[in-house]
Amino acid sequence: MSVVVRGALLPDGTRTDLFATGGTFVAEEPRGARVIDADGLIALPGLVDLHTHLREPGFEQSETVLTGSRAASAGGFTAVFAMANTSPVQDTAGVVEQVQSLGDRHGYVTVRPIGAVTVGLKGEKLSEIGAMAQSRARVRVFSDDGLCVHDALLMRRALEYVSTFGGVVAQHAQEPRLTIGAQLNEGALSSELGLAGWPSVAEESIIARDVLLAQHVGARLHVCHVSTAGSVEVVRWAKARGIPVTAEVTPHHLLLTEELARGYDARFKVNPPLRRDEDVHALRAALADGTIDIVATDHAPHPTESKECAWDEAANGMVGLESALSVVQAAVVDTGLLTWTDVARVMSSRPAEIGLLAGYDTPFAVGSAANFTLVDPAARRTFAVSDLHGKSVNSPYLGRELPGRIVATVHDGYPTVLDGELVDAETVSAAAGAGSNHG
């Protein structure tokens, strides 16, 4: 399988052709290649999502590894880290290996399963972290996301034990005692709307505790979906002292605020909740200055009946794989805070680095894996259900105008998206099978 890209713009602005054969970039143009005309398009290294919910096994009515992978490819991603809150939970070698092999078989993206920190996500006992790390899935990121590892002793042990296997704990920071029944950011709006508040201190206090624990035991910590200005301050403080903490922000927290909840439309219900304007601006600035390391989608599919109901009864979450790059472009690129080179870093090389995923450290270099995506930054479209390719449609951007469009995505040297359309599953699966074993 050979691919030739003509006239693409690299993130730094240089115009170039790209050649790939047998899954890697090569120096000379191969013969018999599929040619992609990339005039006016930006070539980004394949995007890597450190935080996705693929829902399989157990919640296949919302999403499967196949449909989630397709949604990811459509968004320009070539690798996703699949969160552990499936059913059964990804807390054993068997389940993580199953998820990984499903991803490999379908072939749209590289699926890296995340292991649960505690058995069943119950927050009581550590799961078999060693077994998962040494399984074929070679898990390196561990998270109880959806839930917080709130017990201080257990979090300490988790940080230490996971570091034993060279991994990182990704914490969903939410003190449960301060957020019982919480529905929306706590503040003037939540009191007006009569919705139980989710105070920002419930996130900030856990991050503050966790960075001090990480410092004390000398282990890496990753903070999921940072959502408040106060959390940014804590992370900045920790980094200044050399604490090995990394942080992610979702596209929706870079663009949307709690005001959208006024009509009680549960498409805007998410955990952590949408916050204020000041928080959005603090998060953008933090992404620009490196306090926040990466963008991660927290793609969270839910069936329509879980969103077409009263706010209190609705599920938390938004799908985000297909819209991620557009939203990032609208929030931080078109506003001049980040360049496309920065985007390549925060959405590809740095998440791969944090998740210990090989092959993304030298993008476009000859010999490295051919994972890339071609974006038309000048396009504008009204985001619609037809832009969603997963099983669920709970997107907060429906009807909103967004910039940018993915024109092509190439994973391990074979296309998964061409001319803005997904390549069919059989072709992709066959190409994946024909490729060499990758890690």
């Binding site: 503040g187 003037a188 009191s191 009569g194 919705l195 508040g197 009680y264 009946e305 109901c309 009263a310």
Partner: protein, 314 residues
């Protein structure tokens, strides 16, 4: 007016118009034939996901006095309690031809979701949603205040300059919220009294003054003292240490009542916890408007249903 979801949506003129229509409706209760043919042939559905006999009966009487047909869908024993979704219930009611739906729901915003959803083309009246609003309660409270203050000369008047103090679990009270918006729209000045645990964390945008000290607040001689019901569950969630302490600090006991000016009204949306937030003496005194509030509830709800249903479908 297509729906009544929140008192914050009412302008001063709209609010006074509703109170004035309620004056006429109140007169109907004194006639031998307590009925008007105005809503004949219309169907009003009481969709109560939360139990509430009082409010439901009040709406039922109001609808029947206007000759409307009433259907009651209440939580227990019906499909709504078996987990039928709001959407399916709404579509069933639409298929049955409901012209208005009076909805009480445990989730804040449920009436708004229903009104905006397109599942049913009926006027929606919010009879209480979660901790958000209870607009007809605020309207009947305002009506009661106006009647007590101006008697037969109430028509056309607002509540300008009236000082109202609301005491109790403001944080969880939909009655408090609806009253705050409506009373300020009508020109009253509103003061809230509660421990900090029972106040929303940010009320800077609310048109109220806030205090923790009941005695100080009563010392300012308010025209109206409105007591809110305290729920025992709040004690278990550490909002206050004990019923005794709550009552001592924020309860309207006989001593506090005695120190109020002679004309000050004592109001309570009901049901009352006698001995907790309000003493029996206060509840049964001449200042207490509790029974009038119940009677006025029917008149207000008649006015609301008339306003929503009698006009052209536009």
């Amino acid at each position: 007016m297509r729906h009544l979801l929140s008192t914050a949506d009412l302008s001063r003129d709209e609010a006074i118009a509703l109170l004035d229509i309620a004056e006429d409706m109140a007169d109907v209760a004194n006639r031998e034939v307590k009925k008007l043919p105005t809503l004949r042939g219309r169907t009003v559905v009481n969709l109560f996901f939360e139990d509430s006999t009082r409010t439901r009966v009040s709406f039922e009487v109001a609808a029947k006095r206007l000759s409307a047909d009433v259907i009651n869908f209440s939580a227990k024993g019906s499909s709504v309690s078996k987990g039928e979704s709001l959407k399916d219930t709404a579509q069933t009611l639409a298929a049955m031809g409901a012209d208005a739906v009076v909805i009480r729901h445990g989730a804040s915003g449920a009436p708004r979701v229903l009104a905006d959803s397109g599942w049913i083309d009926a006027g929606i009246v919010n009879a209480g949603d979660g901790t958000h609003e209870h607009p007809t309660q605020a309207l009947l409270d305002a009506f009661t205040m106006r009647r007590r203050l101006h008697g037969a000369a109430s028509r056309g008047k607002g509540l300008d300059g009236v000082r109202v103090t609301i005491i109790g679990d403001i944080l969880h009270s939909r009655v408090a919220r609806s009253n705050v918006w409506l009373l300020s729209t009508l020109g009253a000045s509103v003061s809230l009294v509660a421990p900090a645990t029972l106040l929303p964390v940010d009320t800077t945008a609310w048109p109220v003054t806030v205090s923790y000290d009941l005695d100080a607040a009563l010392g300012l001689s308010p025209d109206v003292v409105m007591m809110l019901r305290i729920q025992a569950e709040r004690m278990n969630a550490a909002f206050f240490p004990s019923a005794r302490e709550y009552s001592r600090q924020w309860g309207l006991d006989d001593d506090r009542v005695a120190r109020l000016p002679a004309d000050t009204m004592v109001m309570h949306p009901g049901p009352m916890n006698r001995g907790l937030e309000i003493s029996a003496g206060a509840a049964d005194s001449a200042r207490s408007t509790v029974l009038e509030q119940v009677a006025n509830g029917v008149s207000i709800r008649m006015a609301v249903l008339y306003h929503l249903l009698a006009g052209s479908e536009s």
